[in-house]
């Protein structure tokens, strides 16, 4: 029983932090220097892994779908299937996993180390709100990087898929592109970017929450980093499911 209420309390406090981050985003002074610095940091740790991961993923999707489509004689739709899958599902997830795993863990460790060394308390004593000063720029940077990175991953992934489908499996370039434009529509891109934005927010808030509330000592910080990544992953897959279900209900598909 105690563990249930404890878990609920943690959840509530995390939502409260998310709420204050949203509220404080629009409160001046905006920490511009910190934002730029964090944006650059997150970009620098995620951009290369993202590009490297997206090529094989795009290829795998393309090969798998292509092989399946070939067996049922729907090879002309390979392009649409793999591109839509890449854009709507794979790309936001890759981005979120990288932002959380590479940047969120660093944010969590940084904030956690500062918390156990009383730096947060010192900041509060100096009437500086650590959430506004440190957390808001980090969350915003995570969101911004996620959105931009999502574009990169989509393009690289689709290009990889195209290469493997056309060159390796002997698909026709024209059919690949034609089926793509026949089935895909602009809202697919919007939902993809929206997911990336939301996942960036979740990754940032979870990392900040665990960083601000570590159990005592250096071990506590290590555990907090570990938990922040695991919690983010769990949340991401769940939120992705909900968003996808809503999207498929709300937005009419192009054909049919």
């Amino acid at each position: 029983m105690a563990s249930i209420t404890g878990g609920l309390r943690q959840t509530g406090r995390m939502f409260a932090l998310g709420g204050s981050v949203l509220g404080l985003m629009f409160r001046r002074p905006f920490q511009f220097a910190e934002f730029i610095q964090q944006f650059w940091f997150i970009t620098s740790v995620t951009i290369l892994p993202a590009a490297l991961v997206s090529i094989p993923i795009g290829a795998v999707i393309s090969l798998q779908v292509g092989s399946l489509a070939q067996q049922i004689g729907a090879q002309s739709f390979t392009g649409a299937a793999s591109v839509l899958g890449m854009l709507q599902q794979i790309s936001p997830m890759i981005v979120a996993l990288l932002v959380s795993g590479a940047a969120g863990s660093a944010i969590c460790a940084d904030l956690g180390a500062r918390t156990i060394r009383d730096e947060m308390a010192a900041m509060e004593v100096m009437s500086v709100n650590p959430i506004q000063r440190l957390v808001v720029p980090r969350v915003l940077a995570a969101m911004g990087v996620a959105v931009l990175l999502n574009g990169l991953v989509s393009v690289v992934g689709v290009a990889g898929g195209y290469y493997f489908n056309v060159v390796m499996q002997g698909g026709t370039p024209g059919a690949y592109l034609a089926s793509f434009s026949a089935l895909a529509q602009l809202p697919d891109l919007y939902i993809s970017e929206f997911k990336a934005l939301l996942f960036g927010f979740i990754a940032g808030v979870v990392a900040a929450y665990r960083g601000l509330n570590p159990a005592g000592g250096p071990k506590g910080v290590g555990d907090a980093v570990n938990q922040s990544v695991v919690i983010t992953f769990l949340l991401l897959f769940f939120v992705n499911l909900v968003l996808t279900a809503i999207y498929l209900q709300v937005v009419p598909s192009k054909v049919g």
């Binding site: 180390a113 500062r114 060394r117 009383d118 730096e119 308390a121 010192a122 509060e124 004593v125 100096m126 009437s127 500086v128 709100n129 000063r133």
Partner: protein, 321 residues
């Protein structure tokens, strides 16, 4: 002049464990107060409660009309600007050098130019004896220097109230004496209200105007320094003497058998009150001394005879009751 801090009926517990209950006291404006107490009696928690970092379950801490515990965050943040807090290990920002650390509050809260900030920061580093160390990182300096840098950072905003958390811990006796002198000099120059939390008897007996003690989940006493220094209370006596005989044990309280065994051995009860530290020659005299004398004289009839004698012989030498 500093600002009075009024604490009313403050109680704090962590889960089932009560830290202290029903603590009420007034930190008189512009005077130096020391809170004594054995390790683990919640002195630091008390200090953090005054500034609203920790929220006790009951009670009030009123500063300038704002209750630091129950008032809205916005007011609490505003009122915190009146405070300077020196943390036990300095709590400096590890990623910034000393100069940037000390300049931090100025950069956050004022629109001063870098040149003005520089002047203030160098001035305050000079005051705590850190001149020329601005480029060093907190990880590269000793604990004593970190403490002093923490103090310098607390000073740049010209606080009305300074709180010091164990200024002596980890310092040698000479550095502790220097730091005591710095605190007295600060009070002489700016007339700041100060609260020092410590278990160092030298600081407690030579620095403050007022002295209090936390023990066994309550405030044993708080009042003019003479009251505690001449007190007959067993706990106070044992603590001031650093004696192993008495009610304070290694963990918390002793058992009855051990106490009975101890009471066979008599101990001397000579009580002398050391002179209070004076500001460094050249600085103005402390305004607080006169205000305190006025205040203490008025409460004289209520005090214990020993404390009364000590006060009278200090302020009115030559008069015997």
């Amino acid at each position: 002049m500093g600002i009075e801090v009024v604490v009313q009926g403050l109680s704090k517990s962590f889960g089932a464990q009560t830290i202290w209950e029903d603590v009420s006291l007034i930190l008189p404006a512009g005077e130096i107060s020391v809170m004594l107490g054995p390790s683990g009696t919640g002195k630091t928690v008390f200090l953090k409660s005054l500034i609203g970092l920790i929220k006790p379950e009951r009670g009030k801490v009123v500063v300038n009309g704002v209750d630091m515990i129950n008032s809205p965050d916005r007011q609490v943040y505003e009122t915190r600007k009146l405070f300077g807090l020196m943390f036990q290990d300095g709590a400096l920002f590890g990623s910034m050098n000393l100069y940037d650390n000390i300049a931090f509050p100025l950069r956050e809260h004022t629109r001063k130019s870098e040149a003005q900030i520089r002047a203030i920061v160098l001035d305050s580093m000079e005051m705590v004896g850190l001149a020329g160390d601005g480029k060093k990182l907190p990880g590269e300096i000793s604990g004593g220097m970190r403490k002093r840098a923490g103090l310098a950072r607390a000073l740049v905003m010209e606080p009305e109230i300074i709180l010091c958390d164990e200024p002596d811990s980890g310092l040698d006796p000479v550095r502790t004496a220097f730091l005591s002198q710095v605190l007295i000099d600060l009070n002489a120059q700016f007339d700041t209200t100060m609260l020092i939390v410590t278990h160092n008897i030298d600081i407690a007996s030579t620095v403050p105007d007022n002295l209090g003690m936390l023990y066994r989940r309550e405030l044993v006493t708080f009042g003019p320094r003479e009251v505690l220094l001449t007190s007959d209370d067993e706990v106070v006596r044992q603590f001031l003497k650093g004696d192993i005989r008495g009610p304070i044990g290694m963990s918390e309280e002793k058992d009855a058998a051990l106490r009975a065994m101890e009471s066979v051995v008599p101990y001397s009860s000579r009580k002398t009150i050391p002179e209070q530290l004076a500001p460094t020659p050249g600085l103005p005299p402390r305004q607080a001394v006169w205000r305190r004398m006025d205040r203490v004289m008025r409460m004289l009839p209520e005090l214990a005879p020993a404390a009364r004698d000590a006060i009278v012989s200090r302020h009115l030498p030559g008069v015997k009751e």
